[in-house]
């Protein structure tokens, strides 16, 4: 086997183990309900959202569907990855693996490949189904660029959470700490981020939660420091009626940073990991 075949074989095998595990029985129905389910409900012409959130175009529907993606797809990636390293470490299997001829860098690539495959593939399949549902219900295909941005951004946000959860798992020495760190990270960015933004805005003398441009821009800037925020920024690139004052290069730069920096830290961490 050449290194690519070796990586594909090992990643695929471990991904399959995750996909047929008990945790998939929890995760996959949640994803199925949230992503195609949201697309189905939101593409109903009678649906009206509060705060006059528009559902005029397929991309608007996909944008609002992304809220449900954030709630469930990110949770799924944490569900798969929270014990990706800590479990093997606690059982002693990590020491067996780290003692193999395969380098730690390539073992990390296998770990990432397995967890990303397990988390991203179902989310992308269900996201494609959501796009088809939107087309069926509205009679309009979303633009190719809209679909591409929606799918790419969704894959990216799942990737970010997977890498962060694996990183947290590498620091945890027991399963309790591992799950606390995994869920804690998810809770921070999914539930608490708005609170943090509001507190920081208050400290900066900006009134939170208004239509004031200074608050909108402050929130948009702080969103670059959150994977969920960057995800929404990426989607907003395809919504011409939304402008929160952050330019596309900054958004793309943040997306690259959220992809590269945690992955690099994980690689460095794995190089030095003591079983």
């Amino acid at each position: 086997m050449n290194p690519i075949q070796q990586w594909a074989w090992l990643s695929g095998r471990r991904a399959w183990t995750l996909l047929v595990s008990v945790r998939s029985i929890v995760a996959l129905p949640l994803l199925a309900l949230a992503i195609p389910g949201a697309a189905w409900g939101l593409s109903d012409p009678r649906t009206a959202l509060p705060a006059e959130i528009p559902l005029d175009t397929p991309m608007h529907i996909l944008f609002v569907t992304s809220l449900f993606v954030l709630l469930t797809a990110t949770l799924t990636s944490v569900l798969y990855a929270w014990d990706g390293i800590s479990r093997d470490r606690a059982s002693g299997v990590l020491e067996v693996r780290l003692g193999r001829a395969m380098s730690r860098r390539r073992q990390t690539a296998v770990l990432l490949g397995a967890h990303l495959t397990a988390a991203v593939v179902p989310v992308l399949v269900l996201s494609c189904i959501a796009v088809m549902i939107v087309q069926q219900r509205t009679g309009v295909w979303p633009a190719f660029a809209d679909v591409a941005v929606f799918l790419t951004s969704t894959a990216l946000v799942v990737t970010w959470y997977t890498v962060i959860a694996l990183l947290a798992s590498s620091y945890a020495r027991d399963q309790g700490t591992a799950i606390a760190m995994g869920v804690g990270v998810w809770f921070l960015f999914t539930m608490l981020w708005l609170l943090i933004t509001s507190v920081l805005a208050g400290l900066a003398g900006i009134e939170a939660g208004t239509q004031d441009p200074s608050w909108v821009q402050f929130e948009a800037l702080l969103d670059l420091a959150s994977p969920n925020g960057v995800y929404h920024h990426l989607l907003e690139l395809r919504l011409p009626d939304v402008d929160r004052g952050v330019r596309a290069p900054a958004i793309l730069g943040a997306a690259v940073a959220w992809t590269v920096v945690p992955t690099w830290v994980l690689l460095r961490r794995m190089e030095r990991l003591v079983p």
Binding site: M1, Q6, T17, S91, E95, V96, G99, R100, A101, V274
Partner: protein
């Protein structure tokens, strides 16, 4: 150059990082192994003994390329320095007490590890037969007993046909029959030229198996050689034990039953023979070396120094 030399450790040090009590967020170098020098010869079985925390596992992990060499060097038989990746190519490592779990099987687990080693899938059946797990090869890991899990861990170490096999407490969890078959397997491997390093708390498992013992204390090698030479080096008090049959030879003799008596004292000489009287001497030799006595003697000597 010694043609039988396989690996040489020169001044090898690895110290674990531990929390610094003076600085909450910092860590400092803690216990580990210090300045270890050791030659591993082809086909020898080496016993690594020491108390808990003496550095046995750290030494094995460092040799296995799992922990980095922070100071010193590991050389191959040609005298070339080996990095961790090169050590992992040549060394098979069996960690202590791996709790294999999940719905995978021993066969699939070994397949995965074989692919990580470069894909020698043809070795799997032979290794499973060698360690005696072939009849359970398709059972779920969750259903394996501790002894079977131990055998699986041993199989993972042997999978890549290593030149050096490092076994950390391999006898833990094995029943006497499995322990005996493990001893036979290790002897067979040594005959084929594989160097075996076995760490154990129990000298009983190592006696008759190892060619050489290495005694670790506080991360340093304090003595090496045969059990007898270690005891002599350390100055372990080993009285002579005489077993006689017949009349009770002295007040100090301990009854063994069936008219047998055991006397502990000096080596047999004319005076002792006279004191025994009419009883017949059945055996006479120095008391077996007990690892606990050996370790206590090392600790006592360290404290004196």
């Amino acid at each position: 150059m010694n043609v039988d030399l396989l690996l040489r450790l020169e001044g090898v040090t690895h110290r674990h990082l531990v929390p610094d009590p003076d600085h909450r967020l910092r860590r400092r170098a803690g216990p580990g192994i210090h300045d270890v020098g050791l030659d591993l010869l082809r086909g020898e079985i080496l016993g690594l003994v020491g108390r808990n925390g003496s550095g046995k596992t750290t030494l094995l992990r460092t040799l296995a390329g799992v922990l980095e060499v922070q100071a010193g060097v590991v050389l191959d038989g040609e005298g070339a320095a080996m990095d961790a990746a090169q050590r992992r190519q040549r060394v098979g490592h069996m960690p202590e007490q791996v709790r294999w779990q999940g719905r995978a099987t021993p066969r699939s687990t070994l397949m995965e590890l074989a692919v990580m080693d470069g894909g020698r899938l043809d070795l799997i059946d032979g290794v499973m037969r060698l360690v005696g797990i072939h009849e359970r090869s398709n059972d779920m890991l969750d259903s394996l007993s501790q002894g079977m899990r131990q055998r699986l861990t041993l199989a993972t170490a042997m999978l890549a046909s290593p030149d050096v096999l490092l076994l950390d407490e391999p006898y833990n969890g094995l029943d006497p029959s499995a322990a005996r078959s493990l001893t036979r397997v290790l002897q067979r491997l040594a005959q084929r030229g594989v160097t075996v390093v076995v760490s154990s708390h129990h000298l009983g498992h190592l006696s008759g198996l190892v060619d050489r013992l290495v005694l670790l204390e506080r991360g340093r090698i304090v003595a090496e050689g045969s059990a007898e030479s270690l005891a002599d080096t350390i100055g372990l008090d080993r009285p002579w034990v005489t077993v006689v049959e017949g009349q009770r030879p002295s007040e100090d003799a301990v009854a063994l039953g069936d008219g047998l008596w055991e006397m502990t004292g000096p080596r047999l000489d004319a005076d002792l023979l006279t004191s025994i009287g009419t009883a017949e001497v059945l055996s006479h030799g120095r008391r077996d070396i007990d690892l606990a006595d050996l370790l206590d003697a090392v600790v006592a000597r360290g404290e004196e120094e």
